[in-house]
Structures are given as structure tokens and as C-alpha cells.
């Protein structure tokens, strides 16, 4: 059984508009790294919204770990929280992910909600800061950081929840060469640790080392090849 499975998805934002995703199917096994390629407007962001349970298809099904993910399932607060805990989403623009006063609070936001002890929250935050090599930013306001630093803080905030699946939208956007190398190594480690990675990118050649498969989103979001 696939961890993430989309079957014959039809999706359009407005009733009368052309479908963004049409007869779209996708199956991702646990531990796989899948690249999502395609031109702007091909439906990558829509696909990510569906995978994150933010939008729902007009027809077709989405199963996560065997559970049918639909509006009714996610209406239940408990189900939604459990689902969101297991899927971490890194937005292309990290600015929209940072709303806390300090980097520490930003990373601690998730673990605190999980009801972990203060010591455990502290451990997770410090480990995440060290993993991202941003220990010195601990008490800084995320808003005033550089683009690359913001991306690292946003990724640390997502990882502190220890999700099973990581959905990354253009993870290299705004990073310099050195940071790209560092992030690639981190993704390799995460994959080796059994995490499932779904990455939207225009720079597929950079991810060839870790990618198991890639899907190309074409016109109307139809998958063209695997």
C-alpha cells in the first residue's frame, strides 16, 4: 500500500474554469523521494495543496496511509491535527511561515503544541538549530533574517514536528551554492532516515542523487511521464 495515493483527481478552482488537474493519479511509497517538475501554472502548487489537505478534488480520491483524506475526515479536529503532524510543508516563500517573535519560539511552536515537556521542547529546538547551523540566530526576530536564514528557520520549524512526509516547494529558491549543498546533504540524511520527500523544483538535475522518481506536470496538470 502506498503512503500517498491520488486516484483520478479532477480539480478546478471555479466551477466553470478549466481543470488545473485532470485525471491525475499518483502513488508515493514510504521512504521515496519524488520530484515534481513542470512549468509555472502546471498545477504543482495545487497538487501540494491537495496533498496537504488544504484543497479538495471535485472528483477522485486521496488516501494517506490508507486513510481517505477528504473534507469530512479533516473536519474532525483530531484527525486534521494528526494528519498535519505527519506531513510537513515547506512553502516556497519562507516569509509566510514565520509569525513568532523569536527563532526559538518559531521552532518551538509545533513541539509545544504537541504537549511535549519543556526539556523535550528545548532539546528539539536546540537540535534543530544545530542541524540547520543557525545557533547564533536563536533569539533573533525571524522577520529580520536574510532569505536563506529564513528558509533554514522555516525548515527547522517543520522538522521539529518530526513529520513522516516532507513536502518542499522549491527548496533551493533563495539559497546560495553552499547552502544548496548543505540542504542536499540534509535531504539525503532525511531520506536515509526513512522520511518520504516530495519536492517541487525547476532544478531537477541537482536532486538526481536522491530522487527515486520524477513526475512532470503538463498542461492541465496531467502527469506526462514517470
Amino acid at each position: 500500500m502506498s503512503l500517498l495515493e491520488l486516484k483520478q483527481i479532477e480539480f478546478s478552482y471555479e466551477k466553470d474554469e478549466t481543470a488545473v488537474l485532470s485525471d491525475f493519479s499518483l502513488a508515493i511509497e514510504a521512504g521515496q523521494c519524488v520530484l515534481v517538475l513542470g512549468e509555472n501554472g502546471a498545477g504543482k502548487s495545487t497538487l501540494f495543496r491537495i496533498l496537504n489537505g488544504l484543497s479538495f478534488a471535485q472528483s477522485g480520491t486521496y488516501h494517506f496511509d490508507g486513510i481517505l483524506i477528504d473534507e469530512r475526515y479533516l473536519k474532525n479536529n483530531r484527525n486534521a491535527k494528526q494528519f498535519h503532524k505527519r506531513i510537513g510543508y515547506l512553502f516556497q516563500n519562507p516569509d509566510v511561515m514565520l509569525f513568532n517573535a523569536t527563532v526559538y519560539d518559531e521552532i518551538a511552536f509545533g513541539p509545544r503544541q504537541m504537549g511535549l515537556s519543556d526539556e523535550e521542547v528545548d532539546r528539539r529546538v536546540l537540535d534543530s538549530l544545530s542541524l540547520m547551523e543557525i545557533e547564533s540566530l536563536r533569539q533573533k526576530a525571524p522577520y529580520h533574517l536574510s532569505g536563506g536564514q529564513k528558509k533554514k528557520v522555516a525548515l527547522a520549524a517543520v522538522l521539529s514536528l518530526n513529520p513522516d512526509v516532507l513536502i518542499l516547494d522549491e527548496p533551493f529558491a533563495g539559497l546560495d551554492k553552499k547552502s544548496e549543498q548543505w540542504l542536499l546533504q540534509l535531504l539525503k540524511d532525511l531520506k536515509a532516515a526513512g522520511k518520504t520527500l516530495v519536492i517541487a523544483t525547476h532544478a531537477d538535475e541537482k536532486f538526481q542523487e536522491i530522487a527515486d522518481t520524477s513526475i512532470i506536470m503538463g498542461e492541465k496538470g496531467t502527469r506526462e511521464s514517470i
Binding site: 471555479e14 496537504n52 488544504l54 479536529n77 483530531r78 486534521a80 491535527k81 494528526q82 498535519h84 503532524k85 505527519r86 510543508y89 512553502f91 516563500n93 516569509d95 509566510v96 511561515m97 514565520l98 509569525f99 513568532n100 517573535a101 511552536f109 509545533g110 509545544r112 503544541q113 504537541m114 504537549g115 532539546r123 528539539r124 537540535d127 534543530s128 542541524l131 522577520y143 520549524a157 517543520v158 522538522l159 514536528l161 518530526n162 513522516d164 540524511d189 532525511l190 532516515a193 526513512g194
Partner: protein, 237 residues
Amino acid sequence: MLPNWLIESETYAPPKDGGAFVVKTMKTIGMVLARLKVQRGHEKRHAIPAVIKFFLLVALVLLTSVTQNRLILLAMLALVQAYLAFWPAKDLASILKPALFASLLSVLIFAPAMIMHPQGIYNNLIVIAKVFVSVEMVNIFNHTTQWNHITTALRKLHIPSIFIFTLDITLKYIVLLGTVINDLLTSLHLRSVGKNHRKYQSVGGVMGVTFLRSVEMSQQMYEAMCCRGFTDDYKGL
């Protein structure tokens, strides 16, 4: 090297918490944004020019406001309702809801006077009807005219350019900042996986970041405009 907690898979049972607030706010902002973004409304390809519509609106609202003649008011009401009768149901709601809300507000304001001086109820009802039909007409204009056509019409009427500029930019930035708030709330929603003991702090953070972004965006926009030769004389589309 990855820390141990990140390698181990964990079973997680979320604690009980009311998280509906964020979702509801997100939905509301999303709906308002969608309405503003696709503000095509009812505008037809060969619609009456916005400037004529604007004149007509001002004239009709003025007529409705100053008329002492009950028949004129009733005729206005009948005409507007007859015009709306040809509209699709989903568009009707966006016209009637604000009009009904404004009328209800008027009823509340007049309620003490209506109770204390019942002999004046008739006049109060006339004012309430005027409010209803005026708000309906403004909504019809808003619904059938694109923002950029409204600003162009205002320009043709020689309204000071700084006023048009402020209006235009305000409308554009309502959408932009709305998108920022929506994205921040989406992120907050996705990371709200348990019990948030600092809900107000989180919402305060979202508001604070939005404010900072608005300041930054306004500064960047002004600088970008200066770089493109802006000399305080705004020319609408």
C-alpha cells in the same frame, strides 16, 4: 547528523483543543479575496462606460436621498428589484446581504425613536427604505464595474489624482495583504497540530508580521515607482 528524535517514528495522539478559529478566519479571508480578485462581476463586454454609470449612480443616490415623494421612492425600489430579478442567485446574495445589513443597522438606530414616538414610524421606514435602495445601487455599481474602470472614471471626472492613487493602491494592497494573512494563517493551521496555549500570541504574530510587510511593501513600491519615473502625477489604467 540527524538527532535521534528525528529518526524515530512516533505515535502521536493530539490533545483536545478548539482550533476552528483559524480555519474559519482562513475561509472568510479566502472568500473575500476570491471576490476581490475575480472582480469581473456582471460587467459585459459592451457595458455602459464606467463614467456614465458613476454619474447615474450619484444622481440616483442623490434623488433617493432627497426625495420627499413616496411614489418616487417606491418606483426606485421597484426598478432596482426588477433589474435584480434577472441576475443569477449567487450574485444576488452579494448585493442583498450588505443592503439588508445596512437596513437592519438603520432599524436598530431608529428603534428607540420608533418606540418612543410611534407616530413617526412612517418617516423612519422611509429612511430605512432609502438606505436599502441606496446600498443596493452602490453594490450593483460595484458588482458591474471593475476597479480599474472605476478609477479611470474618477480620473475623467477630474477627481484629484492623489485621491485616485490612494484608492487604487488601497484596493490592490487589500488583495496583496489579504494573501499574506491567508498564507500565514495557512502555515499556522498546518503547524497547529495540538493544543495552542498561546493562541492570541500567534494571532498577534500574524497581525504584526502583516503590518511589517505592509510597511515594507509600501516603501518598496514607492521606490520602484520612483525608479520608473513616478512624479506624483498618477495616471490610472
